[in-house]
């Protein structure tokens, strides 16, 4: 299994993160910054070279974005400059349109042997929120518990 993470380059505004920062601050929580990246979980009989090609040619806009490839289930949080990480994925069985469309596009590139693609989002918080607060934010703002699940990790800055 491979995990591809696509994020904005450093000097590019992360609009989604900014909007979230604003609306979470509006609710009275102290949040310095939030970064958002897109996750693709890819299962299939392929090697890293192919994954790299998919990331580069299909999933990333090279002008404003860059990608990272992991072979683990979760992205790495080594040297992570944030306090909290929230990963949001769809419940099993809920239609994942982004995933399905990505799979179609990969097939159109002539790449075979991919079984499934699911997608998710990663939110990284630069903020000293308590565990209760981050849980609350995850369930009330970041996700809809009816169709999505979240997993929260505390990271050392």
């Amino acid at each position: 299994m491979f995990l591809i993470e696509v994020e904005k380059k450093e000097d590019i505004t992360d609009a989604e993160g900014k909007e979230l920062t604003d609306s979470i601050s509006e609710m009275g929580f102290k949040v310095k910054d939030i970064k958002v990246s897109q996750l693709y979980f890819i299962e299939g009989k392929i090697n890293k070279k192919v994954i790299s090609k998919i990331s580069k040619e299909l999933l990333t806009d090279p002008v404003i974005e860059r990608f990272k490839i992991y072979t683990s289930k979760y992205p790495s949080i080594k040297n992570f400059p944030f306090q909290w990480e929230v990963i949001k994925t769809l419940h099993k069985g809920v239609t994942d349109n982004t995933g399905e469309t990505t799979l179609k596009a990969i097939k159109a590139m002539g790449i075979k042997n991919i079984y499934s693609i699911t997608t998710g989002k990663r939110f990284m918080f630069d903020s000293n929120l308590t565990e209760k607060e981050i849980k609350n934010i995850s369930l009330k703002i970041l996700s809809n518990p009816i169709i999505e699940s979240v997993s929260i990790r505390r990271c050392k800055k």
Partner: protein, 802 residues
């Protein structure tokens, strides 16, 4: 898979009433005891027990969503002095009004298909018809605002695609009712999202689907009230254009049943029965399956090929897979004939679905076709050319039976007649108590400046620009009258107009809407009158022909088991009948949604205000399009219609928190004359601007009319035609009486317009004139100045509160 693994028999024949109800509840069937007993009887006669797929299919077909049991019930309505009996409420109100109106119109009847297809169809010209449908998607939107609204609009677009043999969508319209945006989070019942989050999600859902499908969203409205906190309303409407020779559907025997589009998964199972249940704080968890996920790109592909296949005459019948999935689509198309379905042939998203889940799944973006075996291959090939999957899943028969197979095993067999006609009728007796309680006199010192500021900046009346701008209202290039007016596109428009055929831009379709739940709380009968009047006012003031206007009804009410809710629903239906006949407006399609209520953990029941949305549509001429804002200074301002002391449910009372009063009624005899005279005057090119008076009354309308060019005006209240009880300035300023317009004539046309109105004997008066001062100045009944306020200040307030 072993047979008993995927088909379950349900022992039903010799169990008690309690156990029957237990089954209904456990399987989320939303069937009541009478219905469960009817099913029990059917199977006792058959001498066997039902399978799960049979009972699920019956529950789905008999659901409120598909069958409209409440609207079709027998009703005894007790009024103060008389009792009215409706053998079938729907047939004797909405349907009867339409029949009468069509008869009245005779050769001028423009209705082509009403109440039988997915959408109503009216005549556009000698070659084309316009199909229009408005749906509700309330319960899914409460749970997942984005997905709910997304699939709401996706579903109504498919209704249009599946109307006749396929219509091409030309515009969307969206109307929402939410809780107040500043509602304190601490007061939210458990499991309920904040109104602001619901609004953001719903707007994004509608935006993403409509914009991606390339359909302009040109009309809408948003209403706020605290009784929508637990149960928002989301109305999605779409209109389409269809060649007149592609309207009739048929189902011959021996034809193939083909499904095309998305694959089938567990999405939205029990959506139809779920909509018949009230939301509770547990709804979040039990109904996670009821949420569907929309995919506009898939639907766009479906649309493109479908229209191609229609023109090649590759199929003879089509319908969308909406609530109830295959069960509903195939059941509906083959109810007069019969069908065999091979469920294992349906393409699935993932393995492991039981036969009944396949049959009932509400996975999105699927359409079902009936095609002659000689065309099936061509149809499938055509879909394949655009990378859309199409598969034969059944065949039509003539034995009036629905036979469901799974891997050669008969999973279920039902008689079409029982399935479609076996529902036990519902009846009820309701009593309506007229609320003619004497209203407490409003005793306050009026600070008009403060009040007008509060009225115009109230979220109900404020500009919805921030939302409208997220929608693409230009795509297609035919939107001639836009939802926002002026060079800066920042001023209000009464209605919108779009040309569906760009080669013939002279013919346009006007669309408007009327909704006022504040009236519904006070008097549902008059709410119906006012909503229809408002929807016709919008069409008329924009230049559309009142005599060629058709309307759609969308009722959203609480629990019909509650006698008071049912009584108010019956009164609203009665109102619809009375006014539609009087105004000669045919209903062409509609929808009703009940159980719009919310039970909190401490068992407090909150039900929504009685809400009726009327959508109006008319085919007219582009040259008649008239703006609602003042265009020049030094023009006389004319008001038409009579101002009455009618304040029940008014915005004034709402902001002052004052209860009671008469909800605006209509003048059944003379109102139509006003509409027709204004339309003729527009056609004679006498009128430069025309704006209807609705919420906020005269003062709101005049202020809004000044916004575009930031003009000013002077108004003299004593000149306004009014009833005798209007004795105070505020009676005239804020009354929301129906059928009133403010009009400015074209240059040098004042005298001819006045002569014309006089000749037609409609109530009107010149009440002031426009100027370039940029101030709204009003003189009271004693001729003294009572208000002098800057238009740019008002416009700023109006634009910045949402």
């Amino acid at each position: 898979m072993k047979k008993d693994n995927f088909i379950t028999k349900i022992s039903l024949r010799d169990i008690s009433h309690e156990e029957l109800l237990k089954i209904s509840k456990k399987r989320s069937l939303s069937l009541n005891l009478r219905e469960m007993l009817a099913i029990q009887k059917y199977y006792i006669n058959k001498g066997r027990d039902p399978t799960d797929i049979e009972i699920e299919t019956i529950a789905q077909t008999w659901s409120e969503h598909c069958k409209h049991k409440v609207f079709n019930s027998k009703v005894k309505l007790k009024l103060q002095k008389k009792t009215i009996i409706y053998e079938n409420l729907f047939k004797e109100t909405i349907h009867k009004a339409t029949e009468l109106v069509r008869k009245q119109k005779g050769k001028k009847d423009f209705c082509i298909s009403v109440f039988k297809d997915n959408a109503g169809i009216i005549r556009f010209n000698e070659k084309y018809g316009i199909a229009f449908k408005v749906e509700t998607h309330n319960h899914p939107s409460a749970l997942d605002p984005y997905g709910g609204a997304n699939t709401g609009i996706g579903g109504v677009i498919r209704d249009i695609l599946g109307c006749g043999l396929g219509a091409k969508p030309i515009f969307n319209t969206d109307i929402f009712c939410f809780g107040p945006l500043d509602y304190p989070s601490s007061k939210l019942p458990k499991g309920v999202m904040h109104p602001l989050r619901i609004l953001k999600g719903v707007v994004a859902g509608v935006r993403d689907y409509g914009n991606r499908m390339g359909i302009p969203t040109i009309n809408g409205s948003i209403f706020f009230h605290e009784r929508y906190v637990g149960n928002p309303l989301v109305y999605c409407g779409t209109a389409g254009i269809i060649p007149l020779d592609h309207i009739n559907k048929k189902t011959p025997k021996g034809y193939d049943i083909v499904v095309a589009g998305g694959r089938t998964g567990r999405d939205g199972i029990h959506g139809a029965t779920f909509s018949s249940a009230e939301l509770t704080s547990d709804s979040e968890t039990v109904s996670s399956q009821a949420v569907q996920i929309g995919n506009p790109i898939e639907e766009k592909k479906l649309e493109d090929i479908l229209l191609k296949a229609r023109d090649l005459k590759l199929y003879v019948n089509i319908t969308d897979c909406g609530a109830g999935g295959f069960a509903s689509a195939i059941g509906e198309m083959c109810k007069g004939t019969g069908a065999v379905v091979w469920l294992d042939r349906a393409p699935l998203k993932y393995p492991g679905l039981k036969p009944w889940e396949i049959f009932l799944s509400e996975s999105q973006e699927r359409m079902v076709f009936i095609t002659s075996p000689s065309n099936t291959k061509k149809l499938i090939e055509l879909f394949k050319s655009e990378d859309v999957e199409a598969t034969v899943i059944g065949k039509t028969t003539d034995d009036k039976k629905l036979k469901l197979y799974y891997k050669d095993i008969l999973a279920g067999e039902l008689d079409m007649d029982f399935l479609h006609k076996g529902t036990p009728p519902r009846d009820c007796t309701v009593t309506w108590k007229e609320k003619y309680k004497k209203e407490k006199e409003l005793k306050i010192e009026f600070d008009h400046e403060d009040i007008i500021k509060r009225l115009l900046s109230h979220p109900i009346s404020a500009s919805k620009e921030r939302i409208i701008r997220q929608y693409d209202h230009e795509v297609g290039g035919g939107t001639f009258l836009k939802p926002l007016l002026g060079i800066k596109q920042d001023s209000p428009s009464d209605a919108s107009a779009v040309a569906p055929i760009l080669e013939n831009p002279e013919s346009v379709v006007f669309v408007g809407n009327g909704i006022n739940p504040l009236y519904g709380i006070e008097d549902p009968y008059r709410m119906a009158l006012s909503a229809i009047d408002e929807s016709l006012r919008q069409i008329t003031s924009a230049g559309g022909p009142p005599h060629r206007t058709a309307i759609l009804d969308n009722f959203c009410f609480g629990n019909p088991e509650d006698p008071e809710q049912m009584a108010s629903f019956v009164m609203a239906a009665k109102g619809c009948y009375d006014i539609a006949v009087s105004y000669s407006l045919p209903f062409i399609s509609g929808k009703d949604s009940f159980y719009n209520e919310f039970k909190t953990k401490d068992s407090r029941k909150i039900s929504i205000p009685p809400t009726l949305l009327i959508s109006s549509i008319a085919v007219g001429r582009r040259e008649d399009i008239t703006v609602s804002t003042f265009q020049n200074s030094e023009r006389p301002i004319i008001i038409t219609g009579l101002t009455k002391k009618e304040f029940g449910g008014s915005m004034l009372y709402h902001i002052l928190n004052h209860k009671g009063g008469d909800v605006p009624s209509v003048d059944f005899k003379n109102a139509l004359k006003i509409f027709n005279s204004i339309h003729k005057a527009i056609q004679n090119k006498f009128i430069e601007s025309c704006h209807d008076l609705s919420e906020n009354g005269l003062v709101g309308a005049v202020a809004e009319a000044c916004f575009e060019h930031e003009l000013g005006c002077e108004i003299f209240l004593k000149k306004i035609p009014r009833t005798k009880d209007c004795i105070k300035d505020w009676h005239i300023l804020y009354s929301e009486s129906n059928t009133r317009f403010i009009i400015t004539p074209k240059k040098d046309k004042t005298e001819r317009l006045i002569y014309f109105f006089k000749k037609n004997r409609i109530p009107f008066e010149i009440i002031g004139k426009t100027n370039s001062s940029g101030f709204l100045k009003i003189y009271g009944l004693n001729s003294k100045e009572i208000l002098n306020i800057s238009i740019s200040l008002l416009k700023k307030l109006w634009r910045s509160s949402i």
